[in-house]
């Protein structure tokens, strides 16, 4: 099987088929909620970090008993629903954090209702002040100790160094995949890229590296995508689902870039690891990376990244989107709207979606109109 096919299969499954293989070796799988949790610590413990996703959810009925459809985001509701239905029973533990109100509460409800064999909450600061970095270091120390106790292992500086090496290689290779989209005719579609990113958070990093190396070889001589009308950047989407990418590309757009959570932000910045100070260097790197709106007053740097991306990826149009009830991305949209003239590419009006997209026809209509506008 080609590396691309393997990656796409891994990315589509939840759990990915890699989990079964992993568990048969007797190793543990620890779920985590957000990319601000250093997966290197989990890797270094010998467990497979598995980013929980909503993929596979067909509704949120069970989760809606505890979380409100009036104001709670459908993405964590979908994840919680899967957990309530036993779809995450393969996890040997779960790590949550304060990424946003919805995710935080969904994690707390998961623990309260399901009593997983292991759970841990990491408080991640929202600023980069030294005192906040120091606090984050204390939190990572607690996480490390907690994992060591549960898994009966020692997480050494060396095991962390190795984990960082593997994960940084993941990031570098994913960035190389991303850079393919600078070409006039990228060898992959944006949908495929997104599915590869989903795979990257659910399979062992060594295997991911092997597959990404193979993929980059496979696509070297590809003719690439030719039948597209507009190069599109997606801004603001949080989910792992591929509805948006698929619809854009069915309408002859090509998604070349994003600033999304299950997207470029996941791999954009390598970790600057100091083996003499492993946890402080992890803490600093994670807080310093290209930010999510959960980090305070960092809109300016996200805006800068978008402006650069417009130039680097020759973006024809930007689709602004967000999950319904996401205040963090929602208010980012306000600032984007105010700076739209300086962006360098036309921006759509905000496309507000629920995670389990029953309203594909609405999405289709909006995107079709936007792409037509771009062509005019």
């Amino acid at each position: 099987m080609m590396a691309l096919d393997e990656l796409l299969i891994y990315g589509d499954g939840n759990p990915s088929t890699a989990v079964d293989k992993w568990k048969r070796t007797g190793n543990k799988v620890i779920g985590y909620w957000c990319s601000y949790i250093p997966t290197e610590i989990i890797h270094a413990s010998g467990a497979l970090p598995y980013r929980v996703r909503g993929s596979g959810a067909t509704g949120t009925d069970k989760a809606d008993h505890d979380m409100s459809t009036v104001c709670n985001c459908s993405f964590p509701r979908a994840i919680l629903d899967l957990a309530y239905r036993g779809m995450y029973d393969f996890l040997d533990g779960i790590i949550g954090m304060n990424e946003c109100d919805h995710g935080r509460r969904a994690f707390e409800l998961w623990v309260e209702r399901l009593h997983p064999p292991y759970h841990h909450f990491v408080y991640v600061p929202r600023t980069r002040k030294q005192i906040s970095v120091d606090e984050y270091v204390l939190e990572l120390e607690k996480l490390k100790l907690s994992l060591e106790k549960y898994l009966r292992v020692e997480i050494t500086s060396d095991s962390l160094r190795q984990a960082v090496g593997l994960c940084n290689e993941n990031r570098a290779l994913l960035k190389k995949v991303q850079e393919l989209f600078k070409k006039d005719h990228p060898p992959l579609t944006g949908t495929q890229r997104h599915r590869i990113i989903n795979a990257s958070v659910s399979i062992p990093p060594k295997e991911l590296n092997q597959l990404l190396h193979a993929l980059l070889e496979e696509v070297k001589h590809s003719d690439g995508q030719r039948d597209y009308k507009a190069r599109i950047m997606i801004v603001g989407w949080v989910g792992d689902d591929t509805l948006l990418h698929r619809v854009i590309e069915e309408l002859d757009g090509l998604v070349v870039m994003d600033n999304c959570c299950f997207g470029a932000r996941a791999f954009w910045d390598p970790i600057d690891f100091d083996p003499e100070n492993p946890l402080p260097s992890l803490a600093r790197s994670y807080l310093a990376r290209t930010s999510c709106p959960r980090m305070f007053a960092t809109f300016g740097e996200r805006y800068g990244m978008l402006q650069e991306a417009v130039t680097d990826y020759r973006v024809d149009g930007i689709i602004r989107t967000r999950l319904q009830f996401c205040d963090l991305h929602g208010v980012d949209n306000v600032h984007l709207h105010r700076r739209k003239e300086q962006m360098g590419a036309p921006m759509s009006a905000p496309l507000v979606l629920d995670y389990i997209g029953q309203d594909e026809s609405r999405v289709r209509t909006r995107i079709e109109a936007f792409i037509e506008q771009l062509q005019q």
Partner: protein, 456 residues
């Protein structure tokens, strides 16, 4: 058919309901008239809300003094632009008072302004792509802040509690005042000693920041005085709350909860607040001694989570129709336990620790930033202590963290105290989302059920 059941049915039929008695005329709003959103909001508040409250007779007017005090502080903002410090509503005001600066809370304006203005400003912010689920407290001032129609601060004290809306609001302030460095308090998740140390360390930096931004030096004696006043204020509120546990609840009206909310969000550390609390306490003591409650006979006791702000007549309706007295609400509860120290001699570090505890235990901040058990346990505690017959979770529909705690809270209340909790969605500020009449349609059957259970 037994007599007991038919007595209850008869009582239920006699009770005034909206369907058969239009005695209650809730506040009416006219959203058809255009509103000048560029009006000076502080002046407008003074001339509308302030003027109305000042006309009330002293026997009733004293209840609203915290609101008048807040308006006076807003007027001081205009007169002393060099002292203005923007402050998030869950960032303890004591820090600003200690620096002899003037605290300005833009979102506090939405709490007080006439509803038609608030709605017009919310609509204006929606025209800037603000999501409809962005909290109205911030959404109501987003457009004037971004458009430069608010006073420019010397400094900005911000924090991330209680919720994502606060984080998002921080970006608005950063975009609106790019040349004013912001100080952000990273509120912790926990409440242990480490969390207190983390906050205290940041507050130490916060004072240095304020000194740098305002050009003033912190006067330790002034800090002592402010924290002493703050401690007194909390102790008075605790004492008042002890009386409120009595049956009937010795408060003049449930509307006093709103004044208490305003007081403890904005005015702790001031002497004027102490005067008001002493009056509140004296009133409670007298009512208690006389065995009386408010205006109407108390037949049941209710704890509200978040009060609808736009129409205090809802309380009148509840009291009149069911004898249901709202004895407590989240924002009128004290959570900060002032340390028992000699504030007149306290060291800077001791005072920082007090201020850290104060910040960590700010109403709503405390429940929003941490684990849901804080919210759940607080609700159970209030209902137990105040001998509530029922709880009402009138969830502000933009209050996401609390909404995700509501169901568990309902279960715990039934499990531990055997009392029901009504969960209903409202917009605390905007009656266009859920009007008072619409709330009544949810409250009525619920309170009727509680009344029948109590055999009222």
């Amino acid at each position: 058919m037994n007599n007991f059941s038919s007595k209850r049915r008869a009582a239920s039929r006699k009770r005034t309901t909206m369907s058969n008695n239009r005695k209650y005329q809730f506040k009416t709003f006219d959203f058809s008239k255009p509103v000048d959103t560029c009006v000076d909001l502080i002046d407008m508040l003074d001339k509308t809300v302030g003027a109305t409250l000042k006309q009330l007779p002293e026997s009733v007017g004293w209840i609203f003094d915290p609101v008048l005090q807040a308006i006076d502080e807003l007027l001081a903002v205009k007169e002393n632009p060099d002292k203005v410090v923007y402050r998030h509503f869950t960032y303890a005001p004591e820090m600003v008072y200690a620096m002899d600066c003037i605290s300005f809370v833009p979102e506090g304006l939405t709490f007080m302004m006439p509803t038609e203005y608030l709605c017009a400003l919310v609509d204006e912010s929606r025209g800037m792509d603000t999501p409809e689920h962005f909290c109205g407290y911030f959404g109501g001032v987003l457009s004037p802040v971004l458009a430069g129609r608010m006073p420019k601060p010397k400094a900005i004290l911000h924090c991330n509690q209680p919720c994502d809306n606060s984080v998002a609001w921080g970006t608005v302030l950063a975009e609106s005042f790019p040349d004013v460095e912001m100080f952000i308090l990273d509120n912790p998740y926990g409440d242990d000693e480490e969390a207190v140390r983390f906050i205290a360390g940041q507050l130490r930096e916060g004072f240095k920041y304020l000194e740098r931004m305002t050009g003033k030096r912190l006067d330790l004696d002034r800090f002592r005085e402010v924290m002493s006043n703050s401690a007194k204020a909390y102790r008075l509120l605790y004492e008042i709350n002890e009386y409120k546990k009595a049956i009937p609840c010795p408060i003049p009206t449930s509307a006093i909860l709103r004044s208490t909310s305003a007081a403890f969000y904005a005015l702790t550390g001031t002497e004027r607040l102490l005067s008001w609390l002493e009056k509140h306490l004296a009133d409670a003591k007298q009512r208690y001694a006389e065995g009386r409650g408010g205006l109407r006979e108390e037949k049941m006791r209710v704890v509200w989570l978040l009060l609808p702000v736009f129409d205090p007549l809802l309380f009148d309706w509840m009291e009149e129709t069911f004898g249901a007295i709202a004895v407590s609400t989240l924002s009128a509860q004290p959570f900060y336990q002032p340390p028992d120290i000699d504030y007149s001699k306290a060291s800077f570090e001791e005072l920082l620790r007090c201020l850290a505890l104060r910040n960590n235990n700010h109403a709503m901040g405390r429940q929003g930033r941490g684990h849901m058990s804080t919210f759940v346990n607080d609700m159970v505690k209030w209902c137990r202590e105040f001998k509530a017959d029922a709880a009402i979770f009138s969830g502000h529909w933009q209050c996401q963290a609390n909404w995700a705690s509501a169901q568990i809270t309902r279960e715990k209340l039934m499990e531990e105290l055997g009392i029901p909790m009504l969960i209903m969605a409202i917009d605390q500020l905007d009656p266009r989302v859920v009007s008072a009449e619409a709330m009544v349609s949810r409250l009525e059957p619920f309170l009727q059920m509680v009344a029948e259970k109590k055999e009222i």
